[in-house]
Symmetry: C2
Subunit: 463 residues, 2 copies
Amino acid sequence: MNSEIKNFFYPLSICVVGASTKEKSIGYELLHTISNYGYKGMILPVNPKAESVLGYKCYKSIEEINDRIDLAIIVVPKQFAEDAVDELLRKNVKSILLITAGFKEIGKEGEEVEKRIVEKIKSAGARLVGPNCMGVINALPDVKLNATFVAEKPETGNTGFFSQSGALGAAVLNSLRETDVKFAHFISAGNKADINENDLLRFWQNDDNIKTLTFYLESFVNGEEFLKPFIKGEITKPVIILKAGKTSGGMKAASSHTGALSSKDKVVDASLKQFGIVRVNNIDEMFNTAKGLENFPIPKGRRVAVVTNAGGPAILTVDSLEKEHLELAELSEETKTKLREVVHPEGSVNNPVDLLPGANADTYKKVNELVTADENVDAVISIFVEPVMVQPFEVVESVYDVKTEKPIMQVYLPLPEFWDTYRRDSKKHLPVFRKPEDPAEVLSNMLYYSESKELMDKHRKEY
Amino acid sequence: MNSEIKNFFYPLSICVVGASTKEKSIGYELLHTISNYGYKGMILPVNPKAESVLGYKCYKSIEEINDRIDLAIIVVPKQFAEDAVDELLRKNVKSILLITAGFKEIGKEGEEVEKRIVEKIKSAGARLVGPNCMGVINALPDVKLNATFVAEKPETGNTGFFSQSGALGAAVLNSLRETDVKFAHFISAGNKADINENDLLRFWQNDDNIKTLTFYLESFVNGEEFLKPFIKGEITKPVIILKAGKTSGGMKAASSHTGALSSKDKVVDASLKQFGIVRVNNIDEMFNTAKGLENFPIPKGRRVAVVTNAGGPAILTVDSLEKEHLELAELSEETKTKLREVVHPEGSVNNPVDLLPGANADTYKKVNELVTADENVDAVISIFVEPVMVQPFEVVESVYDVKTEKPIMQVYLPLPEFWDTYRRDSKKHLPVFRKPEDPAEVLSNMLYYSESKELMDKHRKEY
């Protein structure tokens, strides 16, 4: 693995250039977040005026540091950024994260400074993330590095999340406790002056901690470069992209932001499709799809059984199946006969299987076992609306205990209290979807991914 | 106003037939919810075996009650339902809410009992809501009736919400604290054996407490009947419909549920469009649109200014504008010159106006004042991603303090704590949207509504 890039996520020591004792300043908040999330490595703050910051011994200058610096994080005002880079390169630091803004994105003058910095970094054999970015996170328990100024404590997952927009990254981080999004690595790439999506695509493909790659992009630095590893068959993990600036107005807006030049949308779309890259329409779809690919087996076909304790949401789910070109499975007579023994006499054993509000954990488990065993069924969506009489937690756990090689995705419409309980007490802690329409979208993306992959593998063998 | 229907929402006394002392039973939970929400009228529980339930004196039979019963709520097991109806009619009760399930929706036998009950009720000049439903709510402070078994305490709004599905109603109620949906009236209509969407359309049109009508429907009892008041020009309030069973599979599912026969979707779509009825695609869009119509002026045109402290979300917003056939406004030179004095020198005074993360309440307020004053602008979407240094609450309040006749809709991507603060402390408590794509959808629906209305008024004058 490329060790300069690796050090952004797995550094044994970090130096924070511009650490500050002033609360609410970026130099303070960043260090506070790093400390608060429990970073396992050595922290080396630099500040010419302070003895210590947040209990860490402070260095007057970079030069003064004798320890090896795996990763340097610069948060000084922009007029001091270039000097900081110079000093770090003299110290032989190879991985530099430049959070400071005010470069290419603000015009000619900033662009020149940025160019100079990149040239210096490149000729020193070092690598740069940023400038104008929000930082990086490694949520893995051995590292626990949150080098951003969003003071959340992300839970550990297996997704790599690349965001060209710092704010969008921040918005995702801000809402983690509501969305239950989990990732292993996060990187806000800012102006992408050096490290960009092409680097992360290769890096994450080779990092065993990453199962799924997600990218929020406003532009491609070099589309051809991005597609090359796909052409060569080097990318074996699912890649999900939210490409903003789809419309001409959005494209114009994107090009003024982070100084990026957006690519023609139709060209983007066609290219991504050719290589089984999942293109999504919004942030929710991106992370729901990542959750699906990481946590559930890919269905073998498009026939879906819906299990529910409530009619209305099930109908919305059935509507969404057709929208996503999935089918409502035709249950076998054998399954229906067996279901008849478990389902309430006034419920329905046809698909959607309606258990009525009284259905408990036991019923849900048995019914999900029966429908997954049916050879006419490729996937199950199990819906639960919280009634008064049934414990929602027991239901979700019992359904995710069903032994099957088919995906069962649960949609939950509970009282808000449920989510805390689930987060705290669930054993498997598999994703639970919040909208009747979500699983169909996810299943459809999973199928698209696996079908494209199969097709590509076939083509590759033929030629 | 029709007093039989009025009594479902404004009863001075309610009788609960089947009240129970057994926790977790529907007869207990319903009474508990009624009591807990603070119903202002008289509560008369009926239970042959109990002296009192939840502190309320209990009657052995309906006959024993001497007070006038404005609304009777039946939650007895289905085999006793018909007897309860008979007794209530003997008491001259005119409004009966039959929550009990097990009628038309379960087949022939249930259908016959349901038919008999309806005939008896009709010949007595009474009205029935249900059976197989989840109850009614009036959230207005003078009434405070939550006659459902969802123990939430809805905040008061101006929407009427009709749900053909009890579970979907329950799902909406379950998530009120997360969605900030507010309504005045809620009715779960179940099998619609008597009272249906046609009744509520007319009733809510004539009730001054209702500003916007929302319907979740799986079928129309009589489409022509529903459209009649529109044809006559009697409906002057916005009507928003989520019609499930859009696809053939969904339609089939809908017809087994609540025994409804779904209507052909294309016919539905065309008919609704002709009368300016807003048809939405999901629950979020339904309530977001209702929030928009109730709380913001309708824009005079399609030109939207976007104000933001963050590039990424703004680009997603701009993408959504084009999807909804709205335009990115071209700001006048005068506005740009004035903006230049307020906006950070490295920000952007073109639309989208980018204030950069440091922008505070004062900047947001001034910028929103300037863009709303621009005659090239019809509406504003103001986006705020929470950075470390700025108080989100002050920003949202200051923007909603801007004096203008144009809609300003705010999108907020804050830490989760913000929502509680806003709910508790906000003075105007206007809706805040959670996704960059939401306001475009809402503005587009508002424009569709007002343009259709204008066209209909014109046609009406011409003929």
